[in-house]
Structure formats: C-alpha cells, structure tokens
Symmetry: C2
Subunit: 199 residues, 2 copies
C-alpha cells in the first residue's frame, strides 16, 4: 500500500501476511503501534523474536517446548501407558486446562485433508508409530477434532494402531455442557443418543 | 494465559494488547508465527521496530513522516493557501489517493468526544491556529468524519477559524457514488437533497 512513508507501508504489508488480518486491520494495527510508547512496541517485537529463538517442538511429542524433551514428556508423574493424540499444540493446552488427563501427548500438527493437499505423510504419524512400538503404552486416545478431517484422521490412525495390540479410544461426542437441546444439530443429537449412559 | 512455555504466553499477551485482537486471535497469530520460517517472523519484528525508530509526526501538520517537515509540507508544488483538516493520518492517505487535492494537511489526531474524555486540548488545534495566524492560507477545508464527533469538531473549529478572516468549508455530504438510493439512510438523503446542484 502507498503511504508515502516506507516503514509504515512495510509494517502494514507484514501484518497483512498474518492469518485473518486484512489490509484495513493491518492499517489499524500499524497506526496503533505508531501511537504507542516505543518500549511497548519494542516489547511486542522482542516477544516475536523470543518465540522464534527459544521455542521449538519436542522431538518426542512435537508439542511446543523450551527444552527437549518437553516438561510433559520428561515428567515422572505422567502416566506413560496412555497417549492422547491431538491435532495442534493448542489442543494440548485445552486438555491440560481440564487437569483431568495425566498421560502423555502426541501432536500431529494437522489432520488428513485431501482437499488441502494434506496426506498422512505431512503429519507426525510415523513418529507416533515408532513411539508406540515396543513401548509400555496400553491406550491411545484419539482426540482429533470432531469434524470431517479429524474423523478421517482418527479412522486412519485406528487402523494403524489397533494391530499393535493397543487399545484405541475416541473422545465422547454428545451435547456440550451448558448447551440447549433445542439448538443441538441433528448429528450431535444422534451421537448423544447413541452414546447415552445409564444414570 | 498458561501455556507452560513462557515466550509463547508472553507473545499471546502482547498480541492481546492490540486493538481488536482477543485471546483466541492472539493464540492463532502466535501459533502461526511459531510455524513460520524464522526470517519471516524476524521480518515482522524488524518492521515493528523500524516503524518506531524511523517514523514520527511532522512538527507542522502532525502527519506521519520520516523527515521533518514532511514531504507534503516541504513540497513547493502544493498550494499553500489551502489546508485540509483531518482526524487521522489514514485520512490523509485516503485524500491523497484521490489525487484531487493539492493543498496542505493538518492532522488533529482525533475528534472532540466528551464521552471518551477527549476535549479540544487533546487535539492538535492550538498548533493549527498558530499555523493559520499570519499565514497565506485562504481556505480551511474541514474534512473530519461525517459523524457526531467529527461534526462537533468541525463546528468548534469553524467558530475559531472564521474570525481570522479565512474561508472555512466542509466536505459535501450526500449519496456515496455507486450506492443505491433505496438503501440510503434518511439523514444522508436529507443532506443530499439540501446539497443538490444544477446539472
């Protein structure tokens, strides 16, 4: 974009490259930074550099970490017979917030999606299989997203892992807590019926 | 936000401080940057630092600039008898894109808004008045936004500038080009009627 001021044009362009940020938002962010005290803007720039310098992916579970292996993989308090497979590092955060899971994780970094050209070889599936072979793992929980890609990935993994003699489970599908039955979609309601449990 | 990885938590927090970016978007941006090649992330960080290091506000018109006075204020090709008053540097860009204005600018950096605690003393109004006194300016175009705050600011400025013997004009209000009369709001349509011109 022409602004007459090169660094402003460049920052707008850099912001536009980020996902979900269009030219208007990029302009707004740039002019916001222009008005901020220099140290606040610098603090954002430093945070970006530090995230690239200090954070990488764990060689075992592929979650984000500052140490290798990561804190979860290295912990002696986690249940090593249980691995929860998720699509993204953010999913690990969501599960950790529940404080209900004490096993290990494996981050695939995506889901199988032929439409987007993402096949099994783009994901950390090989590494999952070599991790499972000869390990004390008794159960693999497939916690990929409950959508088309996530389900396809779960099916694919189940077919690879079951022959290893490891139990494969999937997170329950049903009505979200606090939701309204009247607004539930048909598929969710069907799953909730199928998965009904005795009280 | 807890992420277990301090630089990630810090970057999410820094992004959340930006306008229009909530915790979810901040997470998404952070994980996007984590996946980018290091030089692309560094390029964004550098653009932020450069914008703060190299860009400041022109001491005459308060528009963004890398030199003082700015390119427009310093240009011998601009009409020095005409000053267009706008709220933000982005408004200068919008007017420059028309290529129809050859005068100078004055950026107020806001509009009078008692609700937000912004009075005339928060804006670059004193500097505008001292600029006008003893200058060759014949006309001041008030190009503040056509909303409540912009109109209030224009009224306030008109009362200050008219006594100096300088013509004060306001941008025309009417139907936007390419719009549909049927969908125009009443106020705009009233203004369009009032401002009708002989063909």
């Amino acid at each position: 974009m022409y602004t007459g001021v090169e660094p402003v044009a460049r920052l707008i362009e850099e912001f536009t490259k980020l996902p979900g940020i269009g030219p208007k938002t990029a302009q707004r962010l740039t002019f916001h930074l222009l008005r901020l005290p220099a140290e606040q803007a610098r603090s954002l720039a430093e945070a970006i550099v530090q995230v690239k310098d200090r954070v990488f992916f764990c060689s075992t579970c592929h979650n984000i970490t500052e140490t290798d292996p990561c804190a979860i993989c290295a912990s002696q308090e986690r249940d090593r017979s249980l691995i929860c497979v998720v699509e993204e590092p953010l999913d690990v955060l969501a599960l950790e917030r529940t404080r209900g899971f004490k096993g290990l994780y494996h981050v695939l970094h995506g889901a199988i999606s032929p439409v987007d050209g993402i096949g099994p070889e783009e994901l950390r599936i090989d590494s999952l299989l070599s991790r499972l072979k000869g390990s004390p793992v008794k159960e693999v929980i497939l916690a990929t997203n409950p959508n088309l890609e996530g389900e396809a990935t779960a099916m694919y993994l189940q077919r690879l892992i079951s022959p290893l003699g490891i139990m494969v489970t999937r997170l329950a599908r049903g009505l979200p807590v606090g939701s309204d039955l009247e607004y539930a979609d048909e598929v969710t309601l069907t799953r909730a019926l199928e998965g009904r449990r005795e009280m």
